[in-house]
């Protein structure tokens, strides 16, 4: 019944490929790995699939 409040998400690149996501979760800036077993990444993908969140491209 996890329900994270994710208000922003943006890819971060390393060696010119996406290496993680900088996201604001429950008001805190976090750096989330692209690891499918990471609960924050799982929740980001769930909210993207639900259409409630978009991951911005890296700067």
């Amino acid at each position: 019944m996890e329900n994270m409040n994710i208000t922003s998400a943006q890819y971060v690149t390393f060696n010119e490929s996406n290496s993680g996501i900088k996201a604001t979760i429950d008001g805190v800036e976090m750096h989330v790995p692209l690891d499918p077993a990471n609960r924050h990444y799982t929740e980001i993908l769930r909210q993207v699939d639900a259409g409630t969140l978009t991951i911005e491209d890296a700067e």
Binding site: M1, V12, H31, N38
Partner: protein, 351 residues
């Protein structure tokens, strides 16, 4: 008599029993980490509970209703323990709506449960024991949620009999509880991975959506966390709830609580969360540089990294953090050409 002269004929068949020997010779039988609530990396003070809040390590608290409550690490504990996890209602909710809930889940990593042989006819019985105390007496429930393969839910009632008195509870969980074969069939399997294998929950208030369970039975309805007999713990700001001495072990007998050293418990907790690790580097050559921050143990997954406080950096822009380039043992910080780079960080690999 010298011990060398004792042979099996000298010991009656029933002289050595499980309760007599397990506390002395069988270690690491407790599947629960931080069951004595000693490790609290996030702090010990009272914090309001949202939808997934930690104070002591590994034990999470949830709330979705019209009231409010706090959790803290308490020094109120039964004999033999020094700490407990305390909940305190701060805004009462006397009428829990159907879909509302308050519960404390503990997630057990699936890799640690393979010896239970769930999903086979050899699935093992397990026993949960714990100490509780509350001003509010009555029927409460625990639940066991098995997510992998086919998802199933087990619930079991227990009663807090005396107000403000520590009571030890023991609940045996058979794989065929309720004359079911869910756990002994292939759908009962727990995948051998780093996901959640079992989720043990202490249920404090549940709306009717979640109270369809039958005590001491597995259910294919994963909303059956609790039963209709359970109290609504949220109904008064006088209500508190204390929990400690949590042990889950193979077998149908609750053995004495296994007290591991604080250092061992801390290391076990750090597989899931590492508080305030600091690192720094001085960049004398004014060239692009990257700092590798080592974690104290290999974490369950590549962790989410949260910076605490300011970067110690001379860079114009905040350095980037790369959480997945350390193979669960480290993460990287890019410092550009700044002369000094460092900071303090939290690493989160919780289930």
């Amino acid at each position: 008599m010298p011990i060398s002269t004792i042979n099996t004929n000298s010991i009656a068949d029933d002289a050595v029993t499980v309760p007599k020997v397990t506390d002395q010779v069988l270690t690491h039988r407790n599947l629960i980490i931080n069951g004595a609530m000693q490790v609290a990396q996030r702090g010990t003070g009272s914090v309001p509970v949202g939808n997934g809040t930690f104070i002591v390590d590994r034990f999470k608290a949830y709330k979705d209703n019209d009231g409010a409550y706090t959790i803290e690490q308490s020094t109120d504990a039964p004999n033999g323990f020094t700490t407990s996890l305390k909940g305190q209602v701060t805004i009462a909710d006397t009428s829990i709506a159907a879909g509302q809930y308050v519960y404390w889940p503990y997630y057990i990593e699936a890799k640690d449960l393979q010896h239970l042989s769930y999903g086979t006819s050899s699935a093992k019985t397990i026993t949960l024991s714990f100490w509780v105390k509350s001003n509010k007496t009555g029927v409460y429930t625990i639940s066991v949620y098995k997510q992998d393969s086919t998802s199933y839910m087990f619930t079991h009632e227990y009663t807090i009999s005396s107000t403000n008195t520590w009571e030890k509870k023991t609940i045996t969980i058979s794989p065929t509880a309720g004359n079911t074969s869910f756990i002994t069939s292939s759908g009962g399997a727990i995948a051998n991975d780093n996901g959640a294998g079992l989720i043990i929950s202490w249920n404090l208030s549940f709306g009717s959506t979640f109270t369809g369970g039958t005590s001491n039975s597995w259910s294919s309805n994963t909303s059956d966390y609790s039963t209709t007999n359970a109290v609504n713990w949220m109904d008064s700001t006088s209500n508190n709830f204390y929990l400690t001495g949590v042990q889950l072990e193979v077998g149908d007998t609750a053995t004495p609580f296994e007290h591991r050293s604080y250092g061992e418990e801390l290391a076990l907790c750090q597989r899931y969360y590492v508080n305030s690790i600091s690192a720094s580097i001085y960049n004398q050559g004014n060239v692009n540089h990257i700092l590798r921050v080592a974690l104290p143990v290999e974490m369950r997954v590549n962790p989410t990294i949260t910076r605490t406080g300011s970067f110690w950096s001379g860079a114009e822009n905040a350095p980037d953090i790369y959480p997945q380039y350390g193979n669960k043992k480290a993460f990287l910080i890019s410092g550009g050409t700044s002369t000094f780079l460092g900071g303090s960080f939290l690493s989160d690999a919780e289930l």
